[in-house]
């Protein structure tokens, strides 16, 4: 088992922990505002580590309940989208049941909390800290674009089934960021570029630019794993509860929401990632996040 000893050259996680740690230190102020946000920060860091524990536990058959690439050098679990594609390509009902059961079980309990508390790509977006959609024109466009992630999710399986290829994975920006780039960092002279290298890297740049310009832009518009979990927000046990008797309609919750949800009225929105920022900012403690 590798031991850190601050020997970055020998550490299998160095390619990832250094940039993320620098980013986390830079944004610590945003999390230090409340105990809940501190807990969320600890959770995001912990899941970033847990997602990359293959050097401890090997490659397991469990499936990530957030978006992370199984080709990442230390990935311990399987990519949900990769499993969906394989289920379609190999006509494997058991894989589909396993994926559906995993996502449904976690989402029935936590809703989309995995996006806000566990997903490393969500963490990266929190670090990048994009802005909210401000003028009406952009808000309208943002609202329409939110349907795109559902379209992407619905298209993945049929396209994989028809073409027999991992059509989404071939151009997946999450794979590009967490697998292709680390592989090149770990062995810069060990590879030639494949057919989809340029499209994949283009999408990586696109994802980073989107997340830098728009807060949680990837989650809002493009993430097919978030789309899988979103409908469960309506019925999950973990919910945002609003006490309208206490609410003074100050608008702070809506102003801080990274997903631009119309709070406090739309507290069961499919877009909510359960980050709890609205809970932290409420001056009269009218909003709570808990199991119902």
């Amino acid at each position: 088992m590798p031991v850190c000893n601050f020997n970055c050259a020998a550490c299998p996680m160095a390619y990832m922990c250094i940039p993320m740690t620098i980013g986390a230190v830079v944004v610590w102020k945003r999390y230090a505002s409340s105990p809940m946000q501190k807990k969320r920060f600890a959770s995001q860091l912990s899941f970033l580590f847990l997602a990359n524990t293959a050097f401890l536990v090997g490659s397991t058959g469990f499936i990530y309940t957030f978006f992370y690439c199984w080709e990442a050098p230390l990935a311990a679990m399987a990519c949900p989208i990769g499993i969906l594609e394989h289920a379609a390509i190999e006509h494997s009902l058991t894989l589909l049941i396993y994926l559906g059961g995993t996502i449904a079980l976690v989402s029935m309990i936590f809703g989309r909390a995995a996006c806000g508390w566990a997903c490393p790509i969500g963490f990266m977006q929190d670090i990048l800290g994009g802005k909210k959609a401000k003028n009406e024109k952009r808000k309208k466009l943002d609202k329409k674009m939110r349907y795109l992630k559902y379209v992407i999710l619905l298209v993945i399986a049929p396209v994989s089934y028809i073409t027999g290829t991992m059509a989404y994975t071939n151009i997946c920006p999450v794979g590009g960021l967490t697998a292709t780039i680390p592989a090149l960092i770990l062995d810069p002279h060990g590879y030639t570029f494949g057919t989809y290298f340029i499209p994949k890297m283009t999408f990586v740049v696109g994802m980073i630019v989107l997340a830098s310009l728009l807060s949680r832009g990837w989650c809002r518009h493009l993430c097919p794993v978030g789309a899988m979990m979103a409908p469960f927000n309506k019925v999950s046990i973990l919910q945002l509860k609003v006490d309208f008797d206490k609410c003074i309609h100050c608008g702070k919750c809506e102003a801080i929401c990274p997903m631009d949800i119309k709070m406090p009225e739309d507290n069961k929105s499919m877009e909510c990632v359960r980050c709890g920022k609205c809970v932290s900012v409420c001056p009269v403690n009218a909003i709570t996040l808990g199991f119902r």
């Binding site: 490659s59 494997s92 059961g101 079980l105």
Partner: protein
Amino acid sequence: MRRIRTLQAAGIIIALAFFTGGWYTAYEKSANLNESTCLGCIALNPIVESFSGFWTEYPDGYSREGTVPHPQWAVDELNKGRVVMLFFWYHGCEPCSRQWNDMSRAGIVNGSEGSGKMAGVYAENVTLFTIDIINSERKDAIKIYTPKGDIGTPTTAILTMKNGSIMWYAFQGPADGSGGRPSIETLENILDDAVKIRGDS
């Protein structure tokens, strides 16, 4: 409120049943998929040792040394006087499909990746094993032929025999002529060499 609670309980029970059933039937397959490296998925192909003659032991650049533990089912074919070509692939692997189609067009193989055979002049002398690295019983053989003992597709190995000694060459990534990997024409030449060596001995 009671209706929501009932709905939640039913949802969790159904989800738990799906998860348990799926875990029981598909966990191993998921683990196999996770363990393998889809080179097409990361859009990178490994740079390999280019062909300059067949090896008898592990060459430099492999994490192992000494005698190669060739699988018995391959050795059996060699003992019958044949050359063996191993093609490790799996469903959805874009470079695997590309190499297979290129080999098909060049008249080296025919049929599909799952049940293909050697074609043309090679059919008489070469036995092809196309091995699905997720579902085949022979899947573990790939670890013998990859430099790090990993599972990365496509991987191609050619085995021949001279005076009772097994000679071999293997490469990971598609046969596209870059990064030290042979082009399809070079692959044909390697097969011709292997057949000639086997015929001479």
